[in-house]
Amino acid sequence: TQLLEQSPQFLSIQEGENLTVYCNSSSVFSSLQWYRQEPGEGPVLLVTVVTGGEVKKLKRLTFQFGDARKDSSLHITAAQPGDTGLYLCAGGENSNYQLIWGAGTKLIIKP
């Protein structure tokens, strides 16, 4: 069974600080996605990365797919309270086109 491990599970930092969240697996994925979920809502897709070594930027958020397509990271620069939420990574496998989900990183940005 493929697994995606996210770390840290919980992170609480002050506004303005930088942070990195990790998503790791021993398996290769054809693509990897990051979602953000706010309390009482469904996850919202932030980005999809498909090529090993790929880097995508979304304003202050930088997403990277590992060269071997087994891991990914999300880096937030100058975090703001609006970045608070649950960040989920999900890997796509070719065999059945289903997503493998990480358990999430709960991020709190304090003003």
């Binding site: 693509s31 469904g42 996850p43 999900a90 086109y97 289903q98 989900w101 358990a103 999430g104």
Partner: protein, 113 residues
């Protein structure tokens, strides 16, 4: 935002009763999914559909059944609710599974007492 609604948004039911949750989409997407979300487990796939009347089991399908008689509606039924099925249930849709991009509804919080 993708047009996905779920009903009801909240439900409290008793052990042993059947419960049906509804997912409705206005995007005409072929693929629909039911997940449950529990602390520490992330999202776990219950059932999914790849077309009208075409469904398959996911990782945690025991105790659940689904039906899809129209493109826009995907129903999840708990045949005899148990306390272990207390959870938040999310519906998701996808236009193409090859993209792996899924769009989620707002969720249904189900409590089984």
């Amino acid at each position: 935002d993708a047009g996905i609604t779920q009903s009801p948004r909240h439900k409290v039911t008793e052990t042993g009763t059947p419960v049906t949750l509804r997912c409705h989409q206005t995007e005409n997407h072929r693929y629909m999914y039911w997940y449950r979300q529990d602390p520490g487990h992330g999202l776990r796939l219950i059932h999914y559909s790849y077309g009208v009347k075409d469904t398959d089991k996911g990782e945690v399908s025991d105790g659940y059944s689904v039906s899809r008689s129209k493109t826009e509606d995907f129903l999840l039924t708990l045949e005899s609710a148990t306390s272990s099925q207390t959870s938040v249930y999310f519906c998701a849709i996808s236009g193409s599974p090859r993209s792996y991009e899924q769009y989620f509804g707002p969720g249904t919080r189900l409590t089984v007492t």
